[in-house]
């Protein structure tokens, strides 16, 4: 009996200690992101579909200014840009030499994605309304987001792999039901450079 009590106390202490360490790590993770005022990066997106033998590659740029401005721009194969400034979200496509506003195509899904991306780049994983997060100190340090009811029809889980450089995301892996997946790799990441507000307002 004494041995059982000792074991129970030991396990409880170990679990408590692990949770404390995790909370400590997550706090320090948020602290690393807290110093970020802006992010500028290039990205390579690999879209793997069960219908396709080879993934579809897209290239683009990302601009973020905390707390709520984001520009997510594709340069190829389609030129397209999603802009967020506060609650205002605009989507444009480049066609015939002009930027044209996008018709309301899956606007809700795209709005949700923009809001989520804004949170990731500020380390505010616990503020997501659509996903529950788990933090893993690694290496590599990463965060797993599991989708809630409704979203799980489109996304199973998202893995965000963090760089050794504090506050920088290396890669995002998105898994969908049915086996399709998306990998987004970030490169040439610049932190806290000066960004004009026009970047988030005009295509």
């Amino acid at each position: 009996m004494k041995r059982f009590v000792f074991l129970s106390v030991f396990i409880a202490a170990a679990v408590f200690s692990a949770e404390m360490a995790l909370a400590q790590d997550l706090t320090s993770l948020k602290e690393a992101f807290r110093n970020i005022r802006s992010v500028k990066a290039e990205f390579l997106q690999k879209r793997s579909l069960t219908i396709l033998t080879k993934p579809l590659l897209s290239e683009g740029k990302l601009f973020l200014s905390t707390p709520d401005s984001l520009r997510w721009e594709y340069l190829s194969p389609l030129r397209s840009v999603m802009l967020r400034k506060g609650n205002k979200i605009q989507i444009y496509n480049f066609s015939d030499g002009f930027w044209k506003p996008e018709m309301a195509q899956a606007a809700e899904s795209r709005r949700m994605v923009l809001l989520e991306i804004s949170l990731w780049f500020q380390g505010r994983f616990d503020e997501s309304k659509a996903f529950k997060h788990s933090y893993f100190p690694g290496p590599p340090e990463h965060v797993i987001l599991v989708s809630g009811e409704g979203i799980n029809k489109f996304i199973n889980r998202i893995e965000i792999i963090l760089s050794v450089r504090p506050g920088v995301i290396d890669r995002v892996e998105i898994e969908e039901p049915g086996g399709s997946r998306t990998s987004i790799e970030f490169k040439n990441v610049e932190l806290n450079s000066s960004l004009s507000s026009e970047v988030f307002e005009k295509p």
């Binding site: 997106q45 579809l56 594709y74 194969p77 389609l78 066609s95 195509q105 899956a106 899904s109 998306t182």
Partner: protein
């Protein structure tokens, strides 16, 4: 004076028509020659393929950019078509097989049955020849192929063109009105045109401009 001018205009019109008729025999088609029949199928892939297109859709006053992924099996007349947003969201996913259509996924505004039917008709028009033999075909002396198929619903499909000048596909309803028109431009990569423009006039009016991004056979 007015009467004389009217007569001159009539005469000019008559001459233009007359010259047109005189020149016509130089480009006369050789009709229903068995040797020309394969030319009616030149623009359609013969082997299983998968392709990715950049699509610019103009509907009403608005425009939309999409990525279209198509996988086809011509011998089984089977085809899967997926529409993605530029970010890679699957907006529409449907399959044609054995004469039936199954829609796996369709998000607003692509969720109406009419849209699904129309889109799969467009894709079939571009990638599959009608399943019956043409009722008429021929090759003009300049190399232009002309092929006509009659559909079960009294609709007609017409294909004309050449690899050098590009191709045109017309789909007419039983009243003879054009309901879909597609213009295909080479070069052909893995059996697929590099650029396609498609106009749909009925029941919905829209234009699709498709640019081939990648293709495998």
């Amino acid at each position: 004076m007015i009467c004389r001018k009217g007569f001159e205009i009539f005469l000019l019109g008559f001459l233009i028509l007359f010259i047109g008729c005189v020149l016509r025999p130089e480009t006369r088609s050789t009709l229903r020659s068995p040797g020309d029949l394969p030319g009616c199928y030149a623009i359609f892939p013969v082997k299983p393929w998968e392709s990715v297109h950049k699509i610019e859709a103009t509907i009403g006053g608005g425009s939309s950019s999409l990525i279209g992924v198509t996988k086809g099996e011509p011998s089984e007349h089977r085809l899967q078509s997926v529409l993605l947003s530029p970010e890679g969201f699957i907006l529409f996913d449907a399959e044609l097989s054995g004469g039936g259509m199954a829609v796996r996924k369709a998000l607003d505004p692509f969720h109406s049955p009419a849209f699904a039917r129309g889109l799969m008709e467009d894709v079939s028009l571009l990638f599959f020849p009608p399943q019956v033999k043409p009722t008429a075909w021929g090759k003009e002396t300049d190399g232009t192929m002309i092929c006509v198929w009659e559909g079960p619903d009294e609709s007609h499909t017409e294909i004309s063109g050449s690899m050098e000048s590009g191709w045109k596909i017309l789909r007419r309803n039983k009243q003879g009105k054009i309901i879909k028109k597609a213009v295909l431009h080479g070069p052909f990569v893995s059996g697929l045109a590099s650029r396609v423009e498609l106009w749909s006039f009925k029941p919905a009016s829209y234009r699709l401009r498709m640019t081939l991004i990648q293709a495998f056979q």
